[in-house]
Structure formats: C-alpha cells, structure tokens
Symmetry: C2
Subunit: 139 residues, 2 copies
DNA sequence: CTGCGTGCAAATGCTTTGCATATGT
DNA sequence: ACATATGCAAAGCATTTGCACGCAG
C-alpha cells in the first residue's frame, strides 16, 4: 500500500502497475533497471509489460520522483530521488562560472556496478575552458 | 599519409578505410562518433560502411590506440588515446584500497557534450564502503 | 462514462554479426 | 596466393511508439 499513497500524494493515478513499480523503487536502496522491474513482476505473476515499465519510469522521472542513471551501453537504472546538489566549474581563462548537475551520481553508479564498491562521499574539482574562450582560440 | 604510417607502426594492415579513419582521429582534438566518421566518408565520396567503421574502431580500441567514451543512450565516441591514469578509492571501514580507471574521461565527455565546457584538469576524492564490508553489514 | 493507462506488436537507433566478395602484402 | 578486410543485409538489444481495449476516478 505504501506505493499507492506515494503516488496519490504526487497526483499520479494509482494503477496496479504503478503501485507495484513504486513499491519496488521505494524498497530498493540501490538503483534498479527496467528489466529488473519487469522480471520481478513476472516472478510475482503480475506480468507488467516492459513498455508500461518504461512509461511509468518516464513519468516518475518527469515528476522528479526518481533519478535515472545511464549505465552505458544504452542501459539505464532508476532510483527514488534523493536530494541532489550542483557543482560549479570555472573557466580557467575568463573565470566565468558554470553550474552543472553533480555528475558523481553517474560515477557512483558505474563504480558500484563494476567493483561492488559503494561510494558515499566525494569531493570534485574540475578546471577547463568554456565554450566561448575555446572558440576564441585559447585551446 | 599520416594515418598510414600510424597504422603500420602498430602492425595494422593499412587499408583505404582504416587510413581514412585513422586520419580523422589523428586530426580531431575532440572525440568523434562512428556516425560522424561514416558521414564524413560519404562527404568525401569514400562511402566506408558503418560496419567497417565500427570494426575499425573496435580494433583500434583493442590495440589501445583509441579511447571509447559512452555518451549515454547507447552512443559512443572515440578519441586518440592520451596517457591515462588511475584513481584509488579507500574503504572507510577496512581501509583497503581499490584501484579504478579514472572515471572522469566519461564525465569530461558528458560535460563537453552538454555544456560546451572543455574540462582540462581534475581532482577527485571518493569515500565509500567496499563490497565485503557492505556485506558484513556496515551499511 | 470518459480519459488515461495498458498490453501487444511493430518500429526505432545504435551497434554487431554472418557471409560472400574484394584487397593488401 | 591467402589471409584478412570489406560491403551488404539481417540480427540484436534496450528503449519507444501506435493503436485498440480496459480500468480508475
């Protein structure tokens, strides 16, 4: 029932498929794939179609309820959204600042996937050249 | 002719397709996609088949002459290999160290792709829990 | 009852592969 | 000449889309 509430709180029509998927997401501490959700639904004799899984995940992402990670090779995984943060990159030439979404979520997921290591904290510092300065011929 | 030499130096049979692809890679300061190579070959009336492009890139990657970046959505780009480096992550519990390939190449490419900002240097610090400690119930 | 959600099947986009032919050394 | 590279066409894989039916509100 947990998933049901969560959906209603976010003005999403609570259907069998969505309730099940939401439940899975709420009870996963790590990111899961569309196929994992599908297979899981098959195990439970629910047979939620893959297209429905994808459409639900897309909806939840639009509503900012889940984060989508690119696993490479065209695969993605999804996790209930946690508080995100931003990073700032500063151009080494013009010193203008550019804000980017923290790219570490991706990295964390890649590392977890390849090595089993679970990243918890990070510190990241990027230096580079912004588009304009690059066009201006600095690099 | 430049590509030709580069290939021979690396014991790769120098064919028309490979020479052209190698030339493109050598003259690109940023990573390029298989499709870009293909289209470029069409423009030059060479019509190198996409499968040939992919097979060549695969070969060059195996020979460690190019780096392959995952652009997300199942797409990749390729760039002549630069000197790579490793990072070390240390488990916050058992303090064992784990060496990983620098994950920033991917990030750099993503940032370049999305914002036009060209990353040059980085500093990266990751803390986390290794697989064994996690299984042991610390997290 | 009415529109939105669903399953099914087919389409997509990038990449990979099988096979017969063409090409480099 | 002979192994290997190539083009072509078809397959593969995760994901997306069109459409007719079904269910939630």
């Amino acid at each position: 029932m947990e998933g049901q509430l969560y959906l209603k709180q976010n003005n999403i029509k609570a259907t069998k498929a969505r309730i099940y998927i939401m439940g899975l997401l709420l009870n996963s501490d790590s990111a899961i794939t569309a196929d994992y959700i599908y297979e899981s639904s098959v195990d439970k004799k629910l047979f939620i179609d893959l297209s429905t899984v994808y459409r639900t995940l897309e909806l939840l992402e639009e509503k900012s309820l889940v984060d989508k990670f690119d696993l490479g090779g065209g695969m993605n995984s999804f996790i209930i959204k946690k508080l995100g943060h931003k990073h700032t990159v500063e151009c080494s030439k013009c010193h203008r600042e550019l804000e980017i979404d923290c790219p570490m979520n991706q990295i964390d997921e890649l590392i977890r996937n390849k090595t089993g290591f679970t990243p918890i904290e990070h510190e990241l510092n990027i230096k580079g050249i912004c588009e304009q300065c690059k066009k201006a011929g600095f690099l």
